[in-house]
Structures are given as C-alpha cells and as structure tokens.
C-alpha cells in the first residue's frame, strides 16, 4: 500500500520532486498573502474592544499555530530518521528548523506588539509566553547542533534527539492557557467546527493561514534541496544539477 513512497527515499527523486513543488507554493504564497494583507489592513472591521490592534491577530495566530505544527512535523521526521536511519530525514530536519525559528520569532514579536496596547505590557513571564520562548530556543538549538559537527550525520543525529526531547514542550504550549491563569486569552480559531469568531473576521484569517502554509512549503522545499545537494556533493547526479544551474 505504501510502496509508492519508496522511490522518494532516493535523494535524486526527492530533489526533483521538491523542485516541482516550489513554483506552486511560491505563486500561491504571493497570491494568498497579498489578498490577505489588503483584506486584513483595509477591509476587516476593527474589533469593538481592541480597535485596530486586532489586525495583528492575522499574523500572530497563524504563525503561532504553525510554529507548533512545524515542530511536531519536525519531531515525527526526526523519529523516523532515528529509527529507520533515513538520511533524507536529517536533511528535512535541517531544512525545517530555521523556518520554524523565524515563525516562532514572528509569533513572539507580534505577540509583544499586540500585548502592549491590549494588556499594557510588552512581555510577561507567564506559561504561554515562556513556553513559546523555550520553543524558539529549541529551534535555535537544533540549528546549532546541525552546524556544529563536521560530520553531518553525527550532527543530524544529535539534532534529532534534541528535537524529540523538546516535544514535551508542545502540549505545554498548547494547553498552557487552560492549565494556568494567564493574561493570554484562550483558543478562538482552533475549536473544531465552531470558531468563536464572526465570519467576516474568520475568512481573512483562513486566507492568511493558508498563505503562511504555502510560504512554509516554498521555503522548506528550497532549503531541503540545498541540504540534499550539500549532503550528496560527491554524487554524479548532483554535479550535473549544479552545472545546469550554473549555465542558466
């Protein structure tokens, strides 16, 4: 049943597959994020309590949700890589971590900029914010481990183990708003089936969310190709690929 997956364990096949995905993700990103940007900045009504600072929601919430999804994805890949010794798994983890770090940073910064007018403080050491900050450090740790070994497979293994240890942080972030008292509000959009939002505010959220998802697909595919190339530099197919791109 899963046999169709087998060819993708070959780095050359995966490399070309990722290359085919890039233009789709790229143009969808440009389309969705530009629609979302105009919609959110010009047409979405201001919140009756928070006023226009509510517009930050459309960046803050998608990036925060995705920072968790990216980490979970990375952890599943790291686990498979450790168990089945897949070399491509290391390349994927190395490709995903920097993107996750950027999304976490965006979630933290926009959260601070939203917190100042809404709560009156830029930062507070409560459960949600602190655990999200730890997530950023986990991403940075994974990036650092990947680049601090001269043997790439050694570094990949260390980074994968750190990724798996850090998984404990994910449920803590997700449920922190329920387990502890905090300034941070509870979940609004991830309540399945019944988001507690007006639909004129919910639709632009979906557009932005999928815009960010496509952005992830685009950049992760691009970085994955780079990682595969650098890990297979001695193979003949890589040489011909590098030559071709030089001629362009």
């Amino acid at each position: 049943m899963w046999k169709w997956l087998h060819p993708y364990a070959n780095p050359e096949v995966s490399y070309h597959f990722a290359g085919k995905l890039i233009p789709w993700f790229k143009y969808l990103t440009i389309l969705l994020l530009s629609i979302g940007l105009v919609w959110v900045l010009l047409f979405v009504p201001a919140d009756y309590q928070q006023g226009n600072s509510f517009r930050i929601f459309y960046i803050h919430v998608p990036t925060a949700i995705l920072s968790l999804s990216i980490y979970s994805t990375m952890a599943v890949i790291a686990f498979c890589g450790l168990v089945w010794q897949l070399k491509l798994a290391d390349a994927s983890v190395a490709a995903i971590a920097p993107v996750g770090a950027v999304f976490t940073a965006i979630a933290l910064i926009t959260g601070a900029a939203w917190g100042r007018p809404t709560w009156g403080v830029w930062w507070i050491w409560d459960a949600r914010l602190t655990s999200e900050l730890i997530l950023l450090f986990l991403y940075l740790g994974v990036i650092a481990l990947h680049s601090s070994f001269s043997d790439k497979s050694q570094g990949g293994k260390a980074a994968s183990i750190l990724t798996l240890v850090g998984v404990i942080n994910i449920p803590i972030i997700k449920y922190s708003v329920e387990w502890w008292n905090t300034l941070h509000q509870g979940q609004t959009v991830t309540k399945l089936g019944a988001p507690s939002m007006a639909s004129e505010m919910y639709w632009p959220f979906l557009v932005c969310f999928f815009g960010f998802v496509c952005f992830l697909g685009w950049i992760i595919s691009l970085r994955f190709r780079t990682e595969v190339l650098s890990r297979n530099a001695m193979r003949p197919w890589v040489k011909s690929v590098a030559e071709l791109s030089e001629k362009k």
Partner: protein, 79 residues
C-alpha cells in the same frame, strides 16, 4: 473599506505604531528568510562546481605527470 483617508489608515485608531511594527517586522523577517535560503542554495551549488573544477585539474595534472614519467623512461631506455 474601513478608512476614509490615508492619515486614518496610517494612524489605525491609536494603534498605528503597534500594527505597523508587527507587519513591518513580520515581512522583513519573511523576506530575510527567502533571501538567505536562496543565497545558501547558490553557495552550495558554487562550492560543488568549484570542487569539480579542482578535481578535473588534479586529474589532468596527474595524467600529465604520468605521461612525462613514461616518456622520460622510454628516452632512458632508447639512449
């Protein structure tokens, strides 16, 4: 349209600073990520090409050396 003129739009009620700070930093970070990903891709490709050229050079030099050794040997034999 929620705003009647440009000043209103830039002011965002009283929250202009926070809104533009968020959107500005977000898109600056996204573009920085795009740029660095593309640059790294190019660097890796260039490094591969460079190494390839060096290998070719080394191979050629080795071959030349081999040839010169064999020709000098044959000269010795003939003399």
């Amino acid at each position: 349209m929620q705003f009647t003129n440009l000043n209103d739009f830039l002011a965002m009620g009283t929250h202009g600073f926070y809104v533009w700070l968020s959107f500005g930093i977000t898109f600056a970070l996204l573009f920085a990520l795009i740029y660095s990903s593309k640059r790294k891709n190019k660097q890796v490709k260039n490094a591969i090409i460079k190494r390839q050229l060096r290998e070719k050079k080394l191979k050629k030099a080795a071959q030349l050396q081999k040839e010169s050794i064999s020709t000098s040997k044959s000269k010795e034999v003939s003399s």
